[in-house]
Assembly symmetry: C2
Homo-oligomer: 204 residues x 2
């Protein structure tokens, strides 16, 4: 394959990636009424990765963490964002996302398609040091956003402090310091009545 064929495939993937800006998550950016899209969410995870890398347990390779968080939600272009507390959606999530990965990453030249699909699967498996840290950041960000929005999304969706704490546990695998911080946020959010008093959403 010559350079321009390769470049044409890469541009096609990049144009496709623009659609992630039209996939909306349940939570909002801090001090912003609208819902957040998965592209700007991914930017936040990347910024967090560079700023918070020094707190990671183990020694994840920062470049791999960055690649991983930048592409971790690309499959949502076809599969949509499946909220953590959506039980029905989560039952079909893996299948929908696998089909999406097959289509979207294969827009790229073969070597890159294999690399990014591998990074996505690694993120989903959550085992390598890079994936463990990336998953920790993916759980920490909505906790921070919901806290700084006064718990609006928690109360709207009936999420209790216990559910929020359970959802946050993977943070501890990625970073002991961030887990201490996350627990202190949950405690403070409880004291300020940011959570829903009753569980109105399925446990996860």
């Amino acid at each position: 394959m010559n350079t321009s064929d390769k470049l044409a495939q890469q541009i096609q993937f990049l144009v496709e990636s623009e659609k992630l800006k039209a996939v909306f998550r349940r939570n909002s950016p801090v001090n912003n009424e609208r819902r957040e899209n998965s592209a700007e969410h991914s930017w936040s995870l990347a910024i967090m990765a560079i700023v918070l890398a020094g707190h990671a347990n183990g020694q994840p390779d920062l470049l791999r963490v960055l690649k991983m968080v930048l592409i971790h939600d690309i499959v949502e272009i076809d599969a949509g964002d499946t909220d953590a507390f959506d039980a029905a959606g989560n039952a079909t999530k893996a299948d929908r996302e696998n089909r999406a990965a097959e289509r979207i990453f294969n827009l790229l030249p073969a070597v890159q398609a294999a690399e990014y699909r591998g990074l996505w699967q690694e993120f989903e498996s959550g085992v390598s040091p890079e994936a463990v840290f990336a998953n920790a950041l993916d759980r920490l960000l909505p906790l921070i956003q919901n806290f700084y929005n006064g718990g609006k999304s928690w109360r709207e969706h009936g999420v209790t402090s216990q559910q929020s704490l359970n959802r946050s546990r993977p943070i501890g695998d990625g970073s002991s310091a961030l887990w201490d911080y996350a627990r202190s946020l949950v405690t403070e959010a409880q004291q300020r009545n940011f959570y829903s008093p009753a569980n109105k959403t399925p446990d996860i």
Copy 2:
């Protein structure tokens, strides 16, 4: 400074960075009517950096390019987005952005504040291999977006093909292959009448 003091500063910076999601650019994402915000724009540049790194002239360090594009627009939180074709805005841009950099990066612990401020200045200077490539991507992205949106933003703001070509020239410093591609896009956009026939915006 102990870990928790450092972490508190880092979190403060990350919460502040959320405001970039409320800074809007003049162009739109592909196939999307709304204007793009600078956070999702920065995500696109980072995705482009990893996908297109192999086309860079020279050997920019990819991790430095990624850090640079991820933070390159943070100053817009205070200074706003200054459009390339806004002459009055560009006269005061450097001063506004320097003050913003002083405030925002200094939310971080001193070592990181110095690193990110340095990367931002390096991007603005556009001299190092990383900065040259990052600037090339920053010019290529709106060209692609405007092309795939049928030139809507070009005609709305009275931008001619010659102005678009001039604006795109830094792409050639960053990558010969991407410059060939950019010129072919401008030519095709001309043929499809995507540009404004008359110049209604100041030359840059």
